[in-house]
Amino acid sequence: MKELSYHSVHIDASLCDGCLACVRCCPTQALRVRGGTALMPDDCCIDCGECIKACSRQAVRPLTGSLAELSKFDYTIAVPSLALFTQFDPAEAPPAVVLEALRRCGFDDAVGLSAACMTVSETIEEFLTEHRGQHPVISSFCPTVVRLIQVKYPTLLDQLLPVLSPREVVARDVKRRKVVETGLPPERIGVVYVTPCPAKMVELVDHPGLDRSNFDSIVSIRDLFLHLMTAIVDVRRGGAAPPETESSAGLRWALATGLTESRSAEDMLSVGGLPNVVRILDDIEKGKLGRYRFVECHACPEGCVSGVLTVEDPYVARARAVRLIQTLPPAGDTDRDAVRRDYRAGTYRMPHRVVPRPMRPLHDDITIAITRMTERDRVLSSLPRIDCGACGAPTCRAFADDVVRGEVGEDACIFIREQRIQSMVGDLASLVRQQVHGGLS
């Protein structure tokens, strides 16, 4: 058995009542209920967080860090997702106020992503101009989409954009700057991402394209929210707001359409929501959509504003993002020559190729796997195919996979069990009849 990879969710068996909500919503069928409780996800989990949302008993929890972890460092910097700015009314708490509130929540400094979004956007343009491989190039900034491609679409890994995300760029650059400013060793300085979703935890623990993430810790918007509310009131009471550092163009990146709209190009697509992303990746794999240069994919329907660990309703958050895009100052001019120079120097390139982590086949030996596929079809044909879930698998087909892998017996299906009981009752009845007749004669 291969070593299980890291996943950003934890299932507390003592809280789980085996209701199947998480099993049914999982887009890669990574979850099963066995013996009345949900098991930890299989390797094919893509950290989308759907199970966290679906669980009404809070048995499925995200493994983000806590504020208490900040005491490990002598100096801490918060780098919030752009989605954080959509969690508060921008009329009362524009980005500058939210960043200041973060500083009052225990962080020594807070830095926004807008400027890095502009640099990365130019870098992408440079990359696309030079790209001679297959099209479309697929964005790599949503960790769930990257995992989905590693797990279900490894054929598309060569098309994954090998450019650092704005958040990693900021984390790297701010750390360098703070080392100089504070004179502290890098390990005493903690760069903390304020995340809208659990998927970013995966990058922190095992970044698919870097030796290690430039972040040292992650806290969720959900966990910070109440502290921030109090701090915002405090900042506003203090009078004059600090100068705005975020830009209109930067805030576009909080939405699913951020990248493509900011370039307003006809040969780019943006896709939000996992079922839609799956459909698009399926099409790309079949050789369709080659006429598009770039596809921006987000696991969450509206982009990061609808992340699982946000607090505000995604549509309210979206409306606020739109308002911020209209009201924030435009981005300052990006020095294109500098970007081009940095691009040539590899400053914004992901150093490693993202490797496949394909879903477990029916067996590692293809000969056995083929035999098992035939067997799977046989098992499936004996099942009711109504996906009732009573066996703890999301579909009859997933259950048939489990059976041929030897993980469960066919009689874990209540319909098969019923048939077997009926036939045993029939056998028993005829046995009794024989006995009775035998006795009488």
Binding site: T155, P361, L362, I366, A369, I370, T374, R376, D377
Partner: protein
């Protein structure tokens, strides 16, 4: 040839644009379940998708039989349809009999059959006008 094999037959309906592409998605999923390597799956996916779309666009119905052994995947497609009068012409890149509606939907670039040939190791096509077309596509795993 080894004894080990997997087969399944799929029905494809001509004109059924809502389900177009489903069979090739299913084939892709089956091959992933058998642990075939990525670039191989991609070739089969493209070849089977193009073959499936040809039926949806031009034929009345077809049966596609998938046959998998540890060495090779074979797609055997028999359709009932108009047939192809001049196969050599149809095999040329850019040649298409697609209607303007089909072209508006992004089809009919005249790359279907050439794409199948490019993504297969063996490709046999024969056709009878007013009867139908028969394709045998083989893609080797190694």
């Amino acid at each position: 040839m080894t004894e080990v094999h997997f087969s399944r037959a799929f029905e494809i309906r001509g004109g059924d644009i809502t389900n177009a592409g489903r069979v090739s998605t299913e084939i892709k999923d089956l091959l992933k379940g058998m642990g075939c390597n990525a670039s191989f799956i991609r070739r089969v996916a493209i070849a089977s998708y193009e073959a499936e779309m040809n039926v949806v666009m031009y034929a009345r119905r077809a049966t596609l039989v998938l046959h998998v052994t540890p060495e090779v995947v074979e797609l055997d497609l028999t359709d009932e349809g108009p047939g192809i009068p001049d196969i050599d012409l149809a095999m040329q890149e850019g040649y298409s009999t697609a209607t303007s509606e089909m072209r508006e939907m992004g089809f009919g670039a005249g790359m279907g059959l050439p794409n199948i040939r490019r993504n297969s190791d063996q490709f046999v096509i024969d056709s009878v006008v007013d009867r139908g077309t028969h394709l045998t596509i083989r893609v080797h795993m190694a």
